[in-house]
Amino acid sequence: MTSPPPAIAAQNLTLTLGSGQAAVEILRGIDLEVPQGQALALLGPSGSGKSSLMAVLSGLERATSGTLSVAGENFSGMDEDALARARRGRIGIVLQAFHLLPTMTALENVATPMELAGMPDAASCARAELEAVGLGHRMTHYPAQLSGGEQQRVAIARAIAPRPVLVFADEPTGNLDTATGHDIIDLLFARHAEAGATLLIVTHDHELAARCGRVITLADGRIASDSGT
């Protein structure tokens, strides 16, 4: 029996922003392979390139060079729209500032990615996921009517509900107080375990990183250490 393909396979990824004299090298030759179902933390100081690496791996940003395969899709050479379509239903993203759609209720926020992916039972799945993150009583509330912790739970439900194969979380507790942050991380791991997805968390927090099966530390756009190797 052959082993399943990796969730992420990246070779010699680089990312350069700007051009000419203003060009800044953000990522400098990243080689990375993440097996399916793994929980991985990306650690590193500010400006080390960890958020940019997450953006490239999740298809939000196109690498300047290198090859990248995510969830069996070859991301190299895809344009922005193809990357957006590739994310549909397969990649969930949780961001530090929640980024819920302010004009939509919690339920609608969670249903939207499934609707974009053309899933027929988006509303009932969203309802179930909100129940699962403990927000069954907040379904018709708008983001402005929710606390920061509740908003991040909605964001987690939104990322998990389509049952993605990969979940990315960029500083998911960065905008929350410590106690709420702990709750959110517990919830994220719980939903990750339930969904069986690969989880990649970008964080400054060593304690949080320690909860992941593998920790990669970035420095100056390069992998400085990898606990998985």
Binding site: L60, A84, G89, A132, H137, S147
Partner: protein, 880 residues
């Protein structure tokens, strides 16, 4: 729901997350794999997402809504008004014409054959129309007024009701009496029961006309109507051979006879009788043409307003989408492609556009009665409210197309907004997608131009207007950009408030260019209308009287010319008299003698060949008429007796392709006469005397019975009191028209039309104000920031208000300059180059109109900025 995780919501509330991992896991199966998840988002899903994101009150899209409301509202009101009037004219066709068909012939009555042919078709009413003079009062203080004399038989009116002010519905007046229009009664100072003389014959005023059913079909006349019995003109000697009168025969057709078929039959039977035949569906072609032209003009004004509203639409959509950058990026993070983003926001914009357009259509229809009452006497009929099935969809189509043209660029730019914007504060500025814009903007513009041209009464005029409007908008946009650059280069004032006010005009995101374009158009139109109206009015008041004769006299008997001249010279010594023979006839055929073209055979009258329509004034002369010059050929010798000759206006020569030696056949009093073209002439129409397209050699037509028409020029300063009274008394069958009164009427009409056009142009200023308010709303966040910082630094509300006044005062001052330069520049071209009049604007009135427009703009700008002054620094700083 089965299979859903059994977390207790209460345990999961914020701060109570312990034990989360120990809870049972959801057993919800993975969702069904996406069906077509890689393709474009279906419209239904796009609409579901769009609807959620769309505020029920269209928050953020209200500028789009207001702009479309104004634009489509104006067009709907215009369309409904013209449609209502046209349908009123059509519905009342028989009443307006006074029958199902009408025949008109000059200077003669109907022949026995003609009369019997008409009688065979149905019930006939006949009568005569002519210009005449009415007098009243004691001989020493007699009042005289020109009247439109209408002699009717006992069958009048065949259709409709003639009503008097005392409420009676009447027909022809009893023998020895007349019905008089209010204007004439006032001018003569008479009331029912008083005596009025026409052609020297006394009549008793039986009543004042309140409603004349066929007034619209009677055409232009100098003076108000006087209705008498059909035998009166002959008794008063007003229809003597050569007198200028028209006989009218109207027929109420027997059931089953089609008016068009009846007219065709009469034309075939009497092809060269000079009969002008009309059917009830073309009862008032002049009024119809006026309404068509007015409607066309107003539609063009509405379109201009819509184009300005388009600037607001573009700005409104751009700021709406800018405010949604985070949502757009989030949707992209969630898997939406740029095409999906375009669909979602297109649906939102379309929903708002539709709502604005529908509200505009409803408002447009509802204000139509107000518009009708504002236009008042300019309209030929008082119209009810009739929905024109074509006008409303057309207005909506214009609105939606303009929305498409102006909303497409910001929408296409927004679809490029990257998902990464959520993670990085700086993203590369988005370029305007020119290529992608070409299709929707190009198609939209082409559809607008196509729709405007397809529904145009005059394609050339419409095309010219569209091109001029586009050029003006581009020019204004250029001026706006130049002003922005210029203010950036000005030295910064020392006064901090003035400095900030100046900087606000060119800071990043400043809408100066759009505002100069949007407001400059309407204000320039204000100035343009004011300079044209005041210049025309001043020309009429000062210049025309200097050029035009003081009196026109019609129907001077040719055997009494010496007596006429003597009467004038005895009353006003030194008065200049010019008398010319006056006949009427229709051109029947033209061209080389061996193959002449019959006018009756033409499918359409060639352009500029208006002289072929119906009967025209004809004259004969021994010498080239004053103010005319030969361009080709030779004038005949005095006393010429050879082949009848004619001299033709060079414009008719061009229109018909005539050559020297060609022939022209006319119908004169029902008799055909042919003359050879001996020369072509250039006519100086500005000479304002009698000018004729065809001037014959005397031997061609002088044997026909006719009278003379004369002009009288009074030397400057000479008293002319008593001349009118003396002429009316001595020549009762002649009509003496005072130019001064005509000019007063013309100026009053011009002023009334000017007010109506100014009201129409106000829509463009309103659209500009909507753009201004939109720009203020779009800049509110950055302005609030400025205001709060200034408040923190100690600025008082008064100082902040002064800052707003200074900023918008600067804008208004620049707009004043732009409007004055453009409006008066274009006005000068129109007055001096197009009309060839003197440049005589009344600057006081021009500045008053412009000042009113600017005050309106400044008022709205300050009112729109007032909420900023109420901002509480502490609260605002928390929210910022």
């Amino acid at each position: 729901m089965t299979g859903v995780g059994s977390f207790s919501p209460s345990r999961l509330r914020e701060g109570s997350g312990e034990g989360l991992l120990s809870e049972p896991r959801s057993t919800r199966p993975p969702p069904t794999p996406p069906a077509g998840g890689r393709g474009a988002l279906p419209w239904s899903t796009a609409w579901r997402i769009a609807r959620r994101d769309l505020s029920a009150r269209f928050r953020g899209l209200r500028l789009l809504l207001v702009c479309l409301f104004l634009g489509t509202g104006a067009l709907a009101a215009i369309g409904t008004l013209t449609g209502s009037i046209e349908s009123e004219l059509a519905a009342r066709g028989a009443s307006i014409l006074g029958g199902d068909i009408e025949a008109e012939v000059w200077q003669r009555g109907a022949t026995a054959q003609e009369a019997s042919a008409f009688s065979a078709l149905g019930k006939v009413s006949s009568g005569t129309r002519m210009q005449a003079m009415a007098t009243a009062g004691p001989q020493a203080d007699e009042c005289a007024a020109p009247i439109a004399l209408k002699a009717v038989d006992a069958s009048y009116p065949l259709v409709g009701k003639l009503r008097l002010q005392d409420g009676r519905a009447v027909g022809a007046p009893p023998p020895g009496s007349l019905w008089l229009a209010e204007g004439a009664a006032e001018r003569l100072g008479v009331a029912p029961g008083d005596t009025v003389k026409i052609g020297g014959q006394p009549l008793t005023l039986g009543g004042i006309v309140a409603e004349e059913p066929d007034a619209l079909s009677e055409g232009f006349a100098l003076g108000a109507v006087a209705i008498v019995r059909d035998d009166f003109p002959a008794r008063a000697g007003l229809t003597a051979p050569g007198a200028m009168y028209r006989t009218k025969l109207r027929v109420a057709l027997r059931p089953g006879i089609d008016p068009a078929a009846a007219v065709q039959q009469l034309q075939a039977r009497f092809p060269d009788a000079g009969l002008r035949l009309r059917t009830r569906d073309k009862a008032a072609p002049g009024a119809e043409r006026f309404i068509e032209n007015m409607g066309q003009f107003l539609v063009l004004v509405g379109l201009a307003a819509l184009a300005i509203a388009g600037i607001g639409i573009g700005g409104g959509v751009a700021s709406y989408l800018d405010a949604r950058r985070a949502s757009i990026a989030t949707l992209k993070v969630l898997g939406a492609s740029s095409g999906d983003i375009a669909r979602i926001y297109l649906l939102q914009i379309a929903a708002a556009a539709l709502a604005g357009s529908v509200a505009g259509l409803a408002a447009g229809v509802l204000v139509t009665p107000l518009l009708a009452s504002a236009l008042g006497k300019l309209l030929p009929v008082s119209a009810g409210l009739v929905l024109d099935p074509a006008a409303l969809p057309r207005a909506a189509a214009y609105g939606l197309l303009v929305a498409m043209v102006f909303a497409a660029p910001p929408l296409l730019r927004a679809r490029q907004f990257p998902a990464m914007a959520l993670m990085r504060s700086r993203v590369a500025p988005l370029a305007l997608p020119f290529r992608a814009m070409l299709v929707p903007v190009g198609l939209g513009l082409a559809a607008i131009v196509g729709l405007a041209l397809a529904s145009a009464a005059d394609m050339r005029l419409t095309a010219g207007f569209l091109v001029s409007t586009a050029a003006l908008l581009i020019l204004l946009a250029g001026l706006g950009g130049a002003i922005r650059r210029l203010t950036a280069r000005l030295p910064r004032p020392e006064n901090p408030l003035l400095r900030i006010a100046l900087v606000n005009l060119y800071r990043p995101g400043a809408q100066t260019g759009a505002l100069v374009t949007a407001l400059g158009f309407g204000l320039s139109a204000f100035v343009l209308l004011a300079v044209i109206e005041t210049s025309l009015s001043a020309n009429i008041a000062r210049k025309v009287p200097a050029r035009a004769p003081d009196y026109f006299v019609l129907d001077v008997p040719r055997d009494r010319l010496a007596e006429f001249e003597q009467a004038v010279h005895q009353t006003v010594p030194g008065a200049a008299i010019r008398a010319v023979p006056a006949l009427r006839g229709a051109i029947l055929a033209y061209g080389p003698a061996e193959r002449m073209t019959r006018v009756a055979d033409l499918k359409a009258i060639p352009e500029n060949a208006w002289a072929l329509r119906g009967e025209r004034g004809l004259t004969y002369a021994d010498e080239v008429p004053e103010g005319n010059s030969l361009t080709e050929g030779q004038w005949w010798a005095k006393g010429y007796t050879g082949v009848p000759l004619v001299s033709v206006d060079e414009k008719l020569e061009d229109a018909l392709g005539l050559k020297l030696g060609d022939s022209i056949t006319i119908s004169l009093l029902g008799v055909e006469r042919t003359a050879k073209i001996a020369s072509f002439r250039r006519i100086d129409w500005d000479s304002m005397g009698f000018n004729y397209v065809l001037v014959f050699s005397p031997n061609a037509i002088q044997d026909a019975p006719h009278n003379l028409a004369a002009t009288i020029d009074i030397p400057p300063g000479a008293p002319k009191a008593g001349l009118l009274r003396r002429l009316v008394r001595a020549f009762p069958a002649s009509s003496v028209i005072e130019t001064g009164a005509l000019l007063r009427d013309a100026r009053a009409l011009l002023s009334q039309m000017s007010v109506a056009i100014l009201a129409a142009a106000s829509v463009t200023v309103l659209a500009g104000i909507a753009v201004l308010l939109g720009a203020i709303a779009a800049a509110r966040a950055s302005r609030l920031y400025d205001t709060v910082i200034l408040r923190v630094l100690g600025a008082s509300r008064g100082q902040l208000l002064a800052l707003q006044v200074a900023e918008y005062g600067l804008l208004v001052a620049m707009l004043a300059g732009v409007a004055l330069a453009l409006g008066s520049g274009i006005g000068w071209l129109v007055i001096v180059k197009l009309f060839e009049f003197d440049w005589l604007p009344d600057w006081r009135e021009v500045f008053a109109v412009l000042g009113a427009g600017l005050a309106l703009v400044l008022g709205f700008a300050l009112a729109g900025s007032l909420p900023l002054l109420r901002a509480k620094p502490a609260q605002a700083l928390r929210d910022l």
